[in-house]
């Protein structure tokens, strides 16, 4: 799988698939295309470049000049879809996310099939573009969600009203708008200019942010290259164009899968760089996405028989987790369990041979595929619940949920064993967080036994867990030895180097601790210039001497050279005042 798609994949594709490629919904409703029209409008482009990255007046001119056009369906040029087209071959396996990040899918292993994996997997989740432009089953699976009782009533009304005669009440509408109005400057750039001067700070970031296309492809390019604040600015532009910009909160608006994807992108990036306050405000009108206008059934004219929610699963999860970052983990916990409840209901429906919302019957193949998707999503929610429990320091709950995940991972060797092993290892660390060293040792033993199914000798994870247990016992020399064994196996592992350094400090060897971290950064700046590692290193600098500024500025120079705008708070990280 290609993790880092090159630009050419976005722009250079000759094989232009239908407009429905990325958002297959876009093609079905002309209103959805409007935004891309004026975004791609050659008239606005030069003006934009002339006045800076994303000049303030751009958005305004936009609204003034172009807003009236919103309802006239002219100039429909599918620039968005065209430029976002991803060749089918570059699309990862539908299970990619859960194969690589989440747990292994448990049900209906596609690899056991007779058909070649790629063909089958392409067909999953509506990804097969060549032969089958829209896979309705895959869409249904992916978007499935059960509306609550109130929403169901409204949806029924929307479905049964004669065309054009359904006028929903204000209360049933989701009315979002942008709150964070100001353009965000490149934070790393800003710090660099302040501390290093304009000359050394470099300006490649500005150039990059300015030269991407003002559409989804450009957005992805900004994300991929790490210009996260510019990406947020671009989402604001695109969302404003979709009629949900600044000042639009509490006003009726039309939701499309595309607008929700834009919100997802905006919220995900805001979350990553910890802009929680505006994020909470902007997320507030969405609530828990239970309003009827978040469902396809609300728009029978546009989507006919399509069911499920317009809200991407990842957006739903992100918003459910959100209160956790605002010191309200209890609230996040409630929301996550509410999500889990709906998912379990859908899984129960599937197990009874019905489709997710329980309304119709399902074919065996479809059922397996959906169960695979939804059990993986269920696991993802459970992971969030564990994370939330850890944030609440409720280690009992975290341990219990994790244990159930381990038990559910399936017996036997192979994927199941790997999964159970990973869970046992995580349980070991949850026990350590609680200070339960005996339980930690027990879980570590269990993880070791499971590891025997996978490889005969201890690996990095095992050595590191053992080292962490030593630290809990206050045996820093033993911990150091374990981390050193891990480093023998993976000399370039940044985490291992960092842990070695921490041990050295507790052993009274500050100078060596600093040297280890500096070496780690220089050997792999891309990964080594990690926020937490920088915090550790700057803590050590400050302990060593009162003359730390030059060393910190060196780190800042390295950041400018190797990183872009991905760190939430550069000053905090480098302890610069």
């Amino acid at each position: 799988m290609d993790n880092k798609p090159s630009l050419s994949q976005y722009f250079g594709s000759n094989e232009v698939p239908p407009a429905s490629q990325f958002f297959d919904e876009i093609g079905t409703s002309p209103t959805d295309m409007i935004q891309s029209v004026y975004l791609g409008d050659p008239d606005t482009r030069p003006q934009t470049t002339a006045t800076g990255i994303f000049p303030q007046n751009m958005t305004t001119s936009f609204i003034q000049n172009k807003m009236p056009q919103e309802m006239t369906f002219t100039n429909v040029v599918p620039t968005v879809s065209g430029s976002t087209a991803i060749p089918a071959a570059s699309l990862p396996d539908p299970s990619t996310f859960f194969d690589t990040i989440g747990p292994e899918p448990q049900i209906g292993s596609i690899k056991s099939g007779v058909t070649a994996t790629s063909v089958l997997s392409d067909a999953m989740d509506g990804l097969s573009i060549k032969n089958q432009p829209i896979d309705k089953d895959a869409d249904r699976r992916r978007d499935a969600w059960i509306p609550n009782e109130d929403a169901k009533k409204t949806l029924l009304k929307a479905q049964s009203s004669p065309k054009g005669s359904f006028f929903p009440e204000r209360e049933v509408l989701t009315m979002p708008g942008i709150v964070l109005e100001e353009e965000l400057a490149d934070a790393l750039q800003e710090v660099a200019v302040k501390y290093l001067g304009v000359s050394s700070a470099g300006i490649h970031g500005v150039v990059r942010a300015e030269h991407v296309s003002r559409d989804e492809a450009g957005l992805r390019e900004l994300l991929r290259t790490g210009y996260l604040r510019s990406a947020i600015n671009l989402t604001a532009t695109l969302i404003s164009a979709a009629g949900q910009g600044a000042g639009r909160m509490h006003r009726p608006t039309k939701h499309t899968p595309r607008s929700l994807q834009l919100w997802l992108t905006r919220f995900a990036v805001m979350c990553r760089i910890k802009l929680y306050e505006p994020l909470m405000k902007e997320a507030e009108p969405f609530g828990d996405f239970s309003k009827p206008d978040m469902f396809y059934q609300f728009y029978p004219d546009s989507y006919e028989n399509r069911t499920g929610s317009l809200v991407p699963f990842s957006l739903r999860l992100l918003i459910a987790e959100l209160p956790m970052h605002a010191n309200k983990p209890e609230e996040a916990m409630d929301r996550l369990y509410a999500m889990l409840d709906v998912i379990e209901q859908m899984i129960a429906n599937l197990n009874e041979g019905k489709i997710e919302d329980g309304t119709g019957t399902i074919s065996i193949e479809d059922q397996n595929e959906s169960l695979r998707l939804w059990t993986a999503r269920q696991t993802r929610v459970l992971h969030s619940i564990v994370n939330c429990a850890i944030a609440l320091k409720d280690y009992r709950l975290a341990g219990n949920v994790l244990s159930s995940l381990g038990a559910g991972a399936g017996a036997g060797a192979g994927a199941g064993a790997a999964q159970r092993r990973a869970v046992a290892s995580a349980l070991c660390r949850v026990a350590l967080l609680a200070g339960h060293v005996r339980a930690a040792a027990r879980h570590c033993d269990a993880a070791r036994d499971l590891r025997h199914h996978l490889c005969p000798t201890p690996d990095v994870r095992e050595y590191v867990d053992l080292g962490l247990i030593d630290i809990a016992h206050g045996k820093y020399q033993d911990a150091y030895n374990n981390f050193a064994k891990a480093a023998d196996q993976e000399p370039t592992n940044i985490m291992v180097a960092n842990n070695l350094s921490v041990c050295l400090l507790y052993m009274g060897r500050l100078k060596e601790a600093i040297a280890v971290l500096q070496k780690a950064i220089h050997s792999d700046p891309e990964r080594g210039l990690n926020e937490s590692l920088l915090i550790n290193l700057c803590t050590l600098y400050e302990l060593e001497s009162s003359k730390t500024n030059e060393k910190k500025l060196n780190l800042l120079r390295m950041l400018c050279k190797h990183k872009s705008d991905t760190i939430p708070n550069v000053l905090e990280c480098l302890k610069l005042t």
Binding site: L315, A426, I494
Partner: protein, 402 residues
């Protein structure tokens, strides 16, 4: 706990408290690959040095983060800190040494450093550093006093001191309750409450009994497993209740005076751990029970069956101990009270003969239950012939009749 150094001195002193490091993980933001950001954010997560391979969406990380604040410190924990002296000049500094003391409200404790204390030369950019450990045994304000001595440019010894103040707080609240059983056993309930600001694990709670008692912990089942289940984790303000049974040693049970004098129960020894294994240990002072007041005469029943069939006579022993300082002359009376369900069999008004102080008399009694149910054994009384006083014993024990 750093303070800004005013650069007059050739060396700088820095101190950092070494609490346990934290386990950190990346900010977890993921998308389905079909979403607009595709796998870009997922790849950020995977490439992050702080994420755990194949468990990227869990925050139980492996990456250690150094402590970023002084934190709280509790009685019984070990105060550890890193003390570092750095040569801030461009030439060597001679005769550098560190001395650290801990000043509490009552005493000044010299802290032992691990390295030798003889002054050394610090070359340019070199440091003299040490890790200091001290188990905190006092509550309240502590001041860490660090003194650095070095040879100044004028070949005179120069020194400066830095003070770091911190409060030691109480980690646990221990409440005890005592129950003196008829059998002379003492049951001790110990309620251990977590009054720290975070969760703790009670690693060990044990009662070390005094000389007079043998202790049995009642907190494990027959297989030695804790009755509290897998995890004795206490969230802030939560408590856990432990139960112990203390049996007086044989030489004490024989003498009612010694039993009455056995006030010292023992000490509770508690070991707990918190964040990443930070350990604390406390021992309570000697726990003291209120001994029962037996008066002049102590009566107990022995060999009493707990379940008896109706209409069948049963036997038991009445144990009478003279707890007074004089010889007693006693008569035992057995009356079947009006609404009583027990009928006494045998002789009432029996004379027991003179009973010396501390001596024991056993009387075999037989009774017959006439109705089923749970019945008190009533109608036993003793008459002190010298004082002409009658002692009634109506609620010493019950029997279940079926």
């Amino acid at each position: 706990m750093d303070t800004k150094e005013i650069i007059d001195h050739l060396v700088a002193l820095k101190v950092m408290r070494l609490t346990k490091p934290a386990l950190i993980s990346p900010k977890i933001v993921t998308c389905d690959f079909k979403d607009l950001p595709g796998n870009i954010l997922n790849n950020f997560l995977k490439d992050d040095a702080t994420s755990v391979v194949q468990m990227e969406t869990l925050t139980a990380g492996q990456f250690l983060l150094l402590p970023q604040s002084f934190g709280n410190i509790y009685l019984g924990e070990t105060f550890s800190c890193y003390v570092c002296v750095h040569n801030e000049t461009s030439q060597p500094v001679q005769s550098v040494s560190i001395k650290a003391d801990l000043q509490t409200s009552s005493q000044r404790i010299p802290l032992t450093t691990q390295q030798n204390q003889s002054p050394i030369m610090l070359d340019v950019d070199e440091t003299l550093s040490d890790v200091i450990h001290h188990e905190v045994k006092d509550l309240g304000t502590h001041i860490l006093v660090c003194e650095v001595t070095y040879m100044s440019n004028y070949n005179t010894l120069s020194s400066f001191r830095k003070f770091f103040k911190f409060e030691v707080m109480k980690p646990l609240d221990v409440k005890t309750k005592f129950y003196n059983a008829e059998s002379d056993d003492v049951f001790v309930e110990a309620q251990v409450q977590n009054i720290t600001s975070g969760p703790i694990i009670l690693e060990q709670v044990s009662l070390e009994s005094s000389q007079q008692f043998i202790v049995k912990s009642l907190n494990e089942d027959n297989n030695g497993l804790s009755v509290f289940g897998d995890v004795t984790l206490l969230q802030p303000q939560e408590s856990c209740q432990y139960l112990y049974c203390l049996t007086p040693k044989e030489n004490i049970t024989k003498d009612i005076k010694l039993i009455a004098a056995a006030k010292n129960i023992g000490k509770l020894d508690i070991v707990w751990r918190s964040n990443l294994g930070e350990k604390g240990r406390l021992q309570t002072s000697q726990l003291q029970r209120m001994t029962p007041d037996y008066g002049d005469i102590r009566v107990t029943y022995e060999n009493l069956p707990s379940k008896i069939p109706v209409d069948e006579p049963f036997n038991f022993k009445c144990k009478i101990v003279n707890a007074s300082d004089r010889t007693l002359d006693l008569i035992i009376k057995l009356r079947s009270l009006q609404d009583s369900s027990l009928l006494w069999c045998g002789i009432s008004n029996r004379k027991l003969g003179p009973l010396e102080p501390g001596n024991v008399a056993f009387v075999n009694l037989t009774a017959m239950p006439i109705t089923s149910g749970l019945h008190n054994i009533t109608g036993v009384s003793l008459v002190d012939l010298f004082l002409k006083r009658t002692y009634d014993y109506d609620d010493l024990a019950s029997v279940y009749v079926y």
